[in-house]
Every structure is written in C-alpha cells, then in structure tokens.
Amino acid sequence: MKDTTADDEPIRSTSIHQARPDLDILPASRLTGDATAEDLESIRRRTSVYVYEAPVRLWHWINAAAITVLCITGYLIANPPPTMMIGEATQQFTFGYIRFAHFAAAFVMTIGFLGRIYWAFVGNHHAKQLFILPVWNARWWKEVMFELRWYLFLEKEPKKYIGHNPLAQIAMFFFMTMGITFMIVTGFALYSEGLGHGSWADRMFGWVIPLVGNSQALHQVHQLGMWAIVVFMIIHVYAAIREDIMSRQSMVSTMISGHRTFKDDRPD
C-alpha cells in the first residue's frame, strides 16, 4: 500500500477535497490500513468513498434477515408456543414449520456467508475487513482505544473512518465472523442428527457432538451462541443509528448505497 503523502505533518486549515499531495487526510484511517490510496484519491475527487460493493450490501441485508429469522425461530424451538389445536397431528405442522423456517434461513445464511467469504477474495479492500483484525498494527490498537473513549463520552469528536471503525471491526469479527461460523458448525451438527448416521452432515459435522460432550450440550452451546448474536444485534443496530446521527460520516445509507459520505471536510 503506497502512501500518498511523504509528509507526516498535516496542514490543518485546508479542505480535504483538494488535490494537494502534501495534505495528510484521515491519518487514523490511513495508518490503521482502513483507507487505501484509491480511497483517498476518491475523497479528493468527490465527497464520498465507495466502500461496500453491491454483493456486500446485498449480503448484509440478506444475512440480517436470515439471522433475524433464525433468532426468532430458534427461540421458539427452545421455548415452544402454547399448544394449538388446529386439527389432528397429521393435519397440523405448526412446530414443523417453525423448524423448517429455521433450517431454510440456516441454509440462506450459510450460502450467503460462503459467498461473502468468496467476495473477501475478489472484492475490494474493505470486503476483507470482516475477516482480518490488524492486531499487529500498533496504530490500530490506539484507534481502538480512541473509539472506546468516544463511546465512553470521553472524546468530544469522533474520527473519520472509511470502512468499520476499529471497535466495530472487533465486534464484527468475534460476533459475526466467528459467531456465524460457530452457529453454522453447531447448527449443522444438530442438523446431522436428524439426517442420521452416515449422512453428509454427519460426516462433515458429526464430530462436533463428542467434542462438546453430548447432543444436549450441543443444543446448549448453540442456544448460547444465539444469545451472543442477539447481544451483538442490539449493540450493532443501536451503534449504526447513533453513529449515523452523531459521527462525522454516513452509516445506514452507506449500507444501502455503498457510499460513505462525510459531514465535514476536516482532515480527521
């Protein structure tokens, strides 16, 4: 990754939307690896950056929908609604549909996630952010601390980020990248029980059951996984809306249009 400026001393009073190679814009983003040369070029040319390509956006919303369905149906699997008497058991499939919706959403989520992994390889720089934490980058850690202080109301003004802010990135990595993987592995291990000994799911995921102890323990950890994701969702949606209002850049619209726009043109 090449730097656009050699000079580390920023010139403050100037707008960032100017072709001035001596102006160090968005140093935090640049030094944590968030901003590429192209991004910075883009900012100079116009007021926004194209961050989330169409497949990422599409995935985001499909994934969000699938996980929402999985959480609702999963909750109902764990805590079935009161018995309904629509007809004889052969005429009624209430709980079966709930489970079916769970499995259908599970397949959507899984295929989507595989597609998302593929896009990490072929998509733009920001498509990789979900999968790699730049833990070796000292500046990144500094920005994590900064972002933490921002959320603790200890900073007056947030910084600008092109992709995810470092704190969000951590949350996404653990709760989503790892979380979805965990739910897929444990979910398909559970699914393999229904398909039976020797099925594809059993061959691929059956090993998980003795690993966690027994089938019941597997249900337990799968359910715990859900609650972890629910916790993430609460924070995530809140943070997205809050930052949309309080940060210096666009949030929700970014996940719709793909473009990150900035509300001011100060360098950082």
């Binding site: 079935p80 079966g96 019941q216 309080m246």
Partner: protein, 363 residues
C-alpha cells in the same frame, strides 16, 4: 487351546432340529435387520463357530445391566447362556464363590487366552488406590486389567462401563472411570443405557457370534445398528411434536391424549438409543410411551445436564445456576438496558453540544 464345539453342535446335541435351527437363523437375520439373503451365511457361521467363552466382570454398579440382560426374549437368555456362549465367570450368577470362583476366572484366562470376550458391567473407581471397589482383597481395577489382557474384545455394558454413570456424576467421589479410559489397547464396544435394552445386549452378542467381528461402531464406539438414531427420530409422538402439540403439565388433557413430552423435559431429541423402535421388555412400552420423558440414560454424562424436567442444560460455570435461555435473556436484557442508557446520555450530550454551539454562534 482346547477345541471349542460349535454353536450348531450344541444346538443339535440339545435336541434342536435342523429346521428349527434354520428358523432361528432367519429370526436372527431379521432381528439384526438383515435380509433373507443373509440366512445361509448366519447358518454357516453357526455351524462352524465354537461357543465363545465370556468373562463378565462387575465393578461399581447397580447390576441393572445384568437384570436387563436376563429379560431378553429374542433370544431367550437361557438359550444364550446354555447354547450360544459359555458364561464361565459372572459373580452375580455363578455357583462357585471365593477361591473357587477366582480359580474359575484364572482357568478361563489361561485356557482361552486371546479367545474370550470380556463383558464389563460397572466401572473401576480410581481414588483411594481403587479400594472403593474391592474384590478378592484387591482393587477391582487390577482384576479388570488382568482379565482384559487376554481378551479378544471387550463389551462395556451400560452407562457405567461406557461413560461412568451415576457414581461418576458430580463430584464423582470415588473417581469412577469408564472402561476405555483404563483399558486402551483392546477393541471396546460400548453398549450404553441405564440399563441397555435386553435385546440390544443379546443382539450385540449374537452379531459378534454370527459375523465373528465387532458390529460397525459410531464415533463413540457404539454399535450403529442400535445407536445410530435418536429416540426422537422414531418416536411415535413425533407427529405431535411437529404439530406443536405438547403436554403442558403432568396429567393434563394433552398428557392423556399422548402429546409430545418436549416441554416436560423429554430428552428424546438428544438421546441415541433404540427405545422408540425396539421398545422395552419385548416392546411392551418405553419411557415416553408410559408418559414420562426420556431422561437421556444412554448419553454421556446425562446425570449432570441439569434437571430431568428441563431439556436444556443448566450452566453452573458462572457460579449461578441457570440455563442457556435464562443466561441469554439476562445478558440481552442487560445489554438492551445499557444501550438505552447510552442512547439517553448520547442525546443529552449532543443537546449540550448544540446549545454550546448555538451559544458560541450567538456570541
């Protein structure tokens, strides 16, 4: 090693006709889920195979596995003991005691070295130098190791031998230990259950006699033919599960209609066993059919998964006792509250900033 007589020899000498012998083979084939094409193979096996000596040891246990075994109807246990195997040592049933019993075991180990089956019921405790289970003045674990050394294969009967069972439940005061953790150099087939179904026990034995090999085992060393599916997969109440028709309380109207016991803590969805297919005591019933949920008695560690009336395990790791749902709900509630608070503070802050900005603009 002396010549062992074949199973067929024994049956013939006991006045069993060729015809009923073939009938027996047909029954065996169907009991094992094999087609009629296998009957000649089974017959051939029976005609040429000797009666296999069996040493049956007892460790820390409740003897329900033996009790279950003697309930076998297909085949009858008397036929197993008189005609199929040679049960040369079993403390619970043998005539001799003391020195004569110990001698019997030594003789079998010597005479049939490498050719006998070791069946283990119960398990060895390892704490207190093994003296929580003493036989012949010595720790049971010594006897187990000694008998295992010359065994061809080992059968771990029941939850005790397979997983540890109730005496290994927390805090496992005697350090009761499953057989495979003590004997690591022999093929071990685990036949879990508390106890296992009688016909599963004799089915495993007749399979081994018929095919002269261990049955196909799953990842946990259980015969796939009997433990390949969950109770839930073949439960006759499954239609009510799928319909969402559940027993909501003991002896309610739904219970009397035989609805699904999921909400009463049934562990059928997490338990691998043959109860919902073979049934108990000649298929008369099985736990769910008689109105109580499955308690998961053939699963590893089923005693420590929380109350039998909750189908999701309690978490004790965090000091408090609650299940995944309760922990998750609490966490989500906490975070939700935190978020609301954070939102409120954020709103106040930004209002403050706006006022300041407005003030400075005015100025």
């Amino acid at each position: 090693m002396p010549q062992l007589e074949t199973f067929y020899d024994v049956m013939r000498r006991q006045g069993i006709t060729r015809r009923s012998f073939m009938k027996y083979c047909t029954l065996t084939a169907s009991a094992l889920g094999l087609g009629p094409a296998f009957v000649p193979q089974i017959a051939h096996a029976m005609e040429t195979r000797p009666r296999t000596p069996v040493i049956w040891l007892h460790g820390l246990e409740c003897t329900c596995c033996s009790e279950s075994f003697i309930r076998s109807a297909h085949p009858l246990v008397k036929d197993v003991v008189l005609s199929m195997i040679s049960l040369d040592y079993d403390d619970t049933l043998m005539a001799a005691a003391g020195h004569q019993a110990e001698q019997a075991m030594e003789d079998v180990i010597r005479e049939y070295h490498g050719n006998y089956i070791l069946a283990v019921e119960g398990n060895p405790p390892l704490n207190e130098d093994g003296m929580f289970c003493i036989t012949g003045g010595r720790p049971f674990v010594e006897k187990l190791r000694h008998a295992a050394e010359g065994a061809q294969a080992i059968i771990s009967w029941g939850a005790c031998a397979s997983y540890g069972c109730v005496q290994a439940a927390h805090p496992n005061p005697t350090r009761a230990t499953p057989v495979h953790e003590v004997i690591t150099d022999k093929p071990i087939i685990r036949v879990p259950g508390c106890p296992p179904i009688a016909e599963v026990m004799t089915g495993v034995i007749t399979y081994m006699l018929t095919f002269q090999r261990l049955p196909e085992l799953d990842r946990q060393g259980r015969p796939a033919m009997f433990y390949g599916q969950r109770i839930h997969d073949k439960c006759y109440r499954r239609a009510h599960f799928d319909a969402g028709q559940f027993v909501e309380a003991w002896d309610d109207e739904n219970a009397r209609r035989g609805y699904c016991l999921y909400k009463m803590g049934c562990r059928g969805p997490t338990t691998y066993n043959a109860c919902s297919t073979i049934g108990w005591n000649e298929g008369v019933s099985f736990p769910i059919q008689s109105g109580h949920g499955c308690i998961g008695c053939s699963e590893d560690g089923f005693w420590d998964q929380g109350s039998f009336y909750e189908r999701v395990t309690d978490l004790t790791q965090f000091g408090v006792e609650a299940n995944a749902g309760e922990v998750g709900m609490a966490a989500a509630g906490l975070v939700g509250g935190g978020v609301a608070l954070h939102a409120a503070v954020s709103a106040l802050k930004s209002a403050q900033v706006k006022r300041q900005e407005a003030a400075s603009e005015e100025a």
